[in-house]
Symmetry: C2
Amino acid sequence: MTDDISSDLQPNYKLWLEHKGEYVFGPGAYAILSSIDREGTITKGAEALGMSYRYAWGVVKKIEKKLGLPLLETFKGGTVGGGGAVVTEYGKQLMEMFVRVKSEFDRVIEDQ
Amino acid sequence: MTDDISSDLQPNYKLWLEHKGEYVFGPGAYAILSSIDREGTITKGAEALGMSYRYAWGVVKKIEKKLGLPLLETFKGGTVGGGGAVVTEYGKQLMEMFVRVKSEFDRVIEDQ
C-alpha cells in the first residue's frame, strides 16, 4: 500500500521572456516597471520596492539595450521635484505578456 | 506609432516541485527517473543521459532523503549482468505531477 504524496507536493516555477533566445524580462523587471508605472517616477517606484534608483534604472537600461527599444519615457517637470517616468508601449507589451502567462501558470498550479 | 514586439518575445520557464516549501524535484530528476524507468537499470538510465551512475544515483538519493520515501526499488538478477531498478509508486507520483504541470505550461506558451 502506497500513500498518495501529491497533496504534500507543490509545483513552483520561474517565468521569464526571451528575445531571440536570450533572457530579457523576468519577475524582477516586471516588479520594477509595475512599480514605476504605479508611482509615476523611477525614484518612487524603486523606493516602493526597497531598491535604489540606480539599481532599478540599471535593470531597465539593460533590457532596453538588449531590445534596442525604450521601456520608459522620462520627462522633466516645471516645478520643484517635478518630472516623472511613464512606461512606453513597448514596456506595456512586455508587462502584458509576462502577466498573461503568469496568470495562466498560476491557474494551472491552483488546479493541482 | 509603436510596433508590436510580442512576436519577437518567447516565454520560457523552469518548473519544479516543492515538498514542505523545499525544492525537491526538477527537470533533471525527472529526466533521470524517466530514463531509468525506460532502460530498466540505473547504469543504463544514467548512460542514456550521458551521466555517471554515481551522479544519477546521488540525485535520486537526495530526493529520497528529503521525502523520506523510496523512488527506486533495485533488485539483483540471477544471471551475469542481471538485476535492475524500477521506479516506485512514489517516484511515479512525482513524475506524473511534474509532467502534468509541464504539459499545461507548454500549452499556455504555445498559445502566446
